[in-house]
Symmetry: C2
Subunit: 331 residues, 2 copies
């Protein structure tokens, strides 16, 4: 029996997560679901964006599905982004962000890449200070351990894929120590897995341009936290944009699926939120965390069928409920 901790959060998170849960329940009839809270609304009621009970529920379940959270536009004392807190407190050290071209939707076919973003350190360690009133300094931390961890995941995933190329993305020409440690630690692990022949490197600026010009040439991209943040948003274009971009925050024996989009307050409540990024994120839980490949394939095929039938129609014509019905019918 599998357990799932559901954290809808704010805005359209409340609308898309239930759809993804019902899709999972259809594929896993004995799934046991627990609900937990996080986000801005939660912060306003409880003074914490991620209550301890939510962290405990995640640990108990070992798997979660996060929706989206709103953030105050200006810094609010004591408020910290819920998703950053979850990633850190649950040691979700890798963020998996696949991008593929969907038939009928993308101008470009043949894109099928997976960005593995380091998810715990880099410029996200929260170490910033004012050195003087006129100088702010942020630290960027790169550790051997976290770099080896992501390379270990990359090795396992590379062995599952047919097209096997691994591109390490860094900026070691300007940051020889931090990016150098990342690169060398990754290479060591990939070498130990006998994968050296598949490994290539790109500077982050070059990688950004190549992801625009020839996205088909990438397979697995392994990179640090902020580079992964930027490159995955940009690459999501080839998969239909942020509205279709799934992700999986992944630790040791624990994983949290998360659509990349935000809480979209402008359309929340209208019944028009697109649930497919949440559904595809649930698919990543199936495929990578639970390793239920058959169910994951069924989910992906249902989404593919739905997108094919929608064609290039604007999502605007569809409703969340209609998408759910069509998905369930296709499972």
């Amino acid at each position: 029996m599998r357990r799932l901790c559901v954290i809808p959060g704010d805005g359209i998170g409340q609308e898309v997560v239930p759809v993804a849960v019902r899709v999972l329940e259809r594929l896993l009839p004995d799934l046991q679901v627990t609900e937990a809270e996080a986000g801005w609304d939660c912060f306003q009621r409880l003074g914490q964006s991620v209550p301890e009970a939510t962290l405990q529920a995640m640990r108990d379940c070992g798997a979660g599905l996060f929706g989206a959270v709103s953030s105050p536009s200006n810094a609010v004392a004591g408020y910290r982004s819920a998703i950053l807190t979850l990633r850190q407190q649950l040691a979700l050290g890798v963020n998996l962000r696949p991008v593929r071209s969907w038939p009928g939707l993308s101008d470009r076919s043949g894109v099928d890449l997976l960005i593995l973003r380091e998810n715990s350190e880099g410029l996200y360690v929260g170490k910033e200070h004012m050195a003087t009133a006129d100088l702010a300094i942020a630290e960027c931390h790169i550790s051997r351990q976290a770099s080896e961890h992501i390379a270990q995941r990359a090795s396992e995933i590379a062995k599952l894929r047919t097209s096997r190329r691994i591109t390490l993305v860094h900026k070691a020409n300007v940051l020889p120590l931090t990016c150098g440690l990342f690169r060398d630690s990754c290479r060591k692990v990939l070498d130990a897995h006998g994968l050296s022949a598949l490994v290539d490197e790109r500077l982050v600026d070059v990688a950004a341009l190549q992801l625009v010009e020839r996205p088909e040439e990438f397979d697995l991209i392994v990179t640090t936290n902020l580079f992964g943040d930027v490159l995955s948003d940009l690459a999501s274009h080839w998969g239909g944009g942020l509205g279709l971009a799934p992700s999986l925050n992944w630790g040791q024996g624990i994983a949290l699926a998360e659509p990349v989009h935000g809480s979209a307050p402008d359309i929340a409540g209208s019944g028009r939120a697109n649930p497919l990024a949440a559904v595809l994120s649930a698919g990543l839980l199936l495929r990578y965390h639970w390793q239920l490949i058959e169910q994951a394939d069924r989910l992906d095929r249902a989404v593919e069928g739905l997108l094919r039938s929608m064609g290039k129609a604007d999502w605007g014509k569809h409703t969340t409920r209609r998408a759910e019905q069509e998905l369930i019918a296709r499972l």
Copy 2:
């Protein structure tokens, strides 16, 4: 009488810079040219990638044209990237990177944006250390002074442009102090110039995606060093890629034009290097540093005419010499 310090550097730098110089000489018959050296070849002969004589020549001339330099693929003791040294030693605090769609060349028309990249600090301050054998730390510095400097430039440039929108790109949701200081310092200067109504903000990940999806919506982008590095490479796609991407490193009373491309050792010496990025970079010297708008317009029109006549033909069919002849004929 204007003076120009010419630093061809390595590889195709030696081939494209002379073309750009002859174009400038045609437009400015009394231009006085001094040659100086920098780069990897220079390092191997003299032990320095930028000799003091080169820095002095740049200071004497107040304007320069840099080609490209090769870098060793692995760290070499004492070697530091020549362009980074020049930017830092000459206090070239802003890097101007325009992108426009060229008739006949781009799939997309209507792109005409200018990225102002902070050019002296951020993660480029060279402050990295190993905290332990397993942890590397890099510092990212953001100062009020450098942020105000780039905003000052942005204000002056905004007043020259017809379409006036200014987008500050940062990641203040994760880096409230450093990116916050950058944003607030920029806003203060832009406000003082009465430009607040034109100013907007984007998170860097969102900006990367929007630069792919709707580049026409951007006008002036003002951002920190590494974000500018990544976003300008990616945006260069809309201007025909790196082979056509110009830049201007710009300080107080001193400027260094620089094509964004590298030294391209694979084609160096074949007579097939594309000189247009170097020529367009020289055009930025004319327009922004010397404020010779009429000459700058003539140069841009010549490039535009050449590109229109080439159509979508691969650059591969053309030669450096042929491009020069056609350009000079069109001036």
